[in-house]
């Protein structure tokens, strides 16, 4: 039995939502953030971030494919999860999950990737052989028209999809925040700021992840890192982080100033059981330090190598901080009694259905999917050129 202090309602001693539910908002946050970064180039014409555009889309897809897995693993009856599509309960925020997810996956992300890669897919279907050729031919969906007119239509439709995609990405992650923020029984969760905080933290984590992946993959490919691109991405990361931190501080100050009946209980929790994960990891290491590091690069001139190191450090700290934020929301919200008279502890198994091992595997899985996606649909401009050359040759 978990250790308890004070009085818990007897059914509250055991935590209901585990590390897998921590993972779910973390993964969807990366999806939403990566997509917002991609839209910077497509919709807002921030040309400097173009080298990350396709990588951001593929990253979003890789993480989106894995996002429902922790939920599925968490369910007491995973075989019944399809009922959410067949008989959704309209008053339930969670019931909308399947629809929001499908909309985002199929109507936005997959469509946008397909439109953006269509020319490459057609060229690859012509230049490859064997199973690969079959794979790309299936992906063309029977359309081999890559005339300038057709590509212009692709581009136009892709633009519209991205414009629709931005509110969809907001919906995807804002909705995840709403699942928590709308639980009036739990004062740690119940705040209208929750969807907004989730959204901005999502943007922060997604931008940081794509920035790190871009730098890592270019290093692995022994290609030069486009510093103008990384500087711009880091600048947007800094801006998004400032908004995110301000919102979180607003929430904190509001709670302290209002000091409702739950305040003493929550305050004690933050100063005891959540001290390390919230004060030290989330706020100091995961927020203040990366903001300070990114802020430094905005006000002082550093050499390229120093900037790279700062960005990598800030990016890693950001991801740790955002994961800690998800942890503190999900786990922290279950550590205190709804009677406000006691506290429990979270005991995480290792090799268990909802233990640490499946959580680690599910965190790594998107990287394998991304690796496969990058192999099949190379997001690099120079390879695009190579394929185009191949295509032209084949066309000749």
């Amino acid at each position: 039995m978990p250790l308890t202090d004070g009085f818990m309602y007897p059914n509250e001693v055991e935590l209901q939502w585990s590390v897998l539910i921590v993972l779910y908002p973390f993964l969807t946050g990366l999806v939403a953030g990566a997509f917002i970064l991609a839209s910077l180039e497509r919709v807002f014409r921030v040309e400097a971030v173009k080298p990350t555009y396709r990588l951001a889309l593929l990253t979003a897809l890789a993480f989106l494919l894995v996002a429902p897995m922790p939920l599925q693993l968490h369910l007491g009856h995973p075989e019944r999860s399809f009922e959410m599509y067949l008989t959704p309960h309209r008053s339930s925020a969670m019931a909308m999950f399947g629809f929001v997810y499908l909309w985002y996956l199929m109507a936005v992300l997959v469509l946008e990737i397909w439109l953006d890669y269509r020319k490459d897919i057609v060229l690859l279907a012509q230049s490859t052989t064997g199973l690969k050729r079959l794979f790309y031919r299936v992906l063309t969906l029977g359309s081999n028209n890559i005339s300038p007119n057709a590509l212009a239509i692709d581009n136009r439709v892709g633009y519209i999809v991205t414009v629709i995609g931005i509110p969809s990405a907001f919906l995807l992650h804002g909705y995840v925040g709403f699942i928590f923020g709308s639980v009036k029984a739990n004062p740690w969760w119940s705040t209208p700021l929750m969807p907004v905080v989730f959204l901005f933290s999502a943007m922060v984590s997604g931008i940081a992840a794509v920035m790190l992946l871009y730098m890592l993959l270019n290093r692995l490919r022994k290609q030069p890192i486009d510093m103008r691109c990384v500087d711009t991405v880091a600048k947007y990361l800094f801006y998004a982080f400032i908004i995110d931190f301000s919102l979180e501080m607003l929430d904190l100050i509001h709670r302290i100033y209002e000091a409702d009946e739950s305040f003493h209980s929550l305050d004690f929790m933050v100063h005891s059981r959540l001290y390390i994960s919230q004060i030290v990891v989330q706020i100091l290491l995961g927020t203040v330090l990366p903001i300070a590091l990114l802020g430094l690069t905005q006000i002082a001139k550093f050499t390229e190598i120093v900037r790279k190191r700062i960005y990598v450090s800030a990016g890693c700290l950001t991801l740790i901080g955002i994961f800690a934020m998800r942890w503190n929301v999900v786990i922290g919200g279950q550590l205190f009694s709804k009677s406000f008279l006691g506290y429990t502890t979270y005991k995480m198994g290792f090799v268990a259905k909802e233990g640490l091992l499946p959580a680690i595997l599910l965190t790594l899985l998107p990287f394998f999917i991304l690796w496969a996606l990058v192999k099949l649909l190379p997001p690099w401009p120079e390879e695009e050129t190579t394929h185009m050359a191949h295509g032209t040759a084949a066309g000749d």
């Binding site: 004070g6 007897p10 059914n11 939920l71 007491g76 339930s92 969670m94 639980v183 279950q334 008279l341």
Partner: protein, 244 residues
């Protein structure tokens, strides 16, 4: 479609079984009980509760509640005054199933509070269920369809009173059903039946002859956490402000 006599004879028992299955899902046929004639709630008189735990034991036995989980439980509140300041101690060892050790400490205000599902009319738990597996029945009882529940536990998070739990073997949410299988047969709940002091009373708010109406008119009755506006139907007489 051609159905031979042989086919018909084979299909007949299957059809009979299917029809029985359809009938089994129709509660009205089991008695003359009419859901629209009732609106169930419960009255708890804190002054009468002696913390004996009979209700918890009866509930566990009647509903086969797994060990360590509670469809109903009793909390003991002890309020002491030390240097002019009130200190509060609350406990509920094993849900109060085996009663509480006696305490004659002077200057301590002590009382017992039986708890269970509040069968809220605007229940947050039914609102959040993604598939509608938990619902308010037409006669005002919050129930769970165990064959439909996903085990997502959102309802457990949404209940402000800590009344729900995940059944460790069935992997579905469970809670007090107000002994629906009994009250639809004209019986009272197991906890009410076994309370030696009458501290718990099942109440039919739609029945004009039910003594609850007279009681509510003549007593100062409160519900738990009224600020959450759940329209709870678990009414407490003599509820101390310290109770959460």
């Amino acid at each position: 479609m051609n159905i031979t006599r042989r086919h018909f004879l084979v299909l007949l028992p299957a059809a009979a079984l299917a029809w029985e299955h359809v009938l089994a899902g129709t509660p009205e046929l089991s008695s003359n009980y009419n859901t629209s004639d009732h609106w169930w709630g419960m009255l708890v008189d804190i002054e009468k509760c002696i913390g004996c735990g009979s209700c918890v034991r009866a509930c566990a036995k009647e509903n086969n509640v797994p060990d360590g989980y509670y469809r109903t439980w009793i909390e003991r509140y002890r309020i002491k005054e030390v240097n002019g300041l009130e200190t509060l101690e609350v406990d509920s060892p094993d849900g109060g199933k085996n009663g509480f050790p006696s305490s004659d400490e002077p200057g301590v205000k002590q009382f017992f509070v039986p708890k269970m599902c509040n069968h809220c009319a605007d229940s947050p738990c039914t609102q959040v269920c993604p598939v509608g597996a938990t619902f308010v029945s037409p006669d005002g009882v919050v129930l769970i369809d165990e064959k439909y529940c996903l085990g997502c536990r959102y309802c457990i998070q949404a209940c402000p009173y800590g009344c729900r739990f995940l059944h460790p073997e069935k992997n579905v949410a469970q809670k007090c059903t107000l002994c629906y299988h009994r009250i639809t047969q004209g019986l009272t709940t197991a906890c009410c039946e076994n309370c030696p002091t009458g501290a718990r009373q099942l109440a039919d708010l739609k029945n004009p002859k039910d003594p609850i109406h007279e009681f509510l008119r003549t007593h100062k009755v409160q519900v738990l956490k009224p600020h959450l506006a759940t329209q709870a139907k678990l009414y407490y007489n003599g509820l101390d402000g310290a109770v959460r």
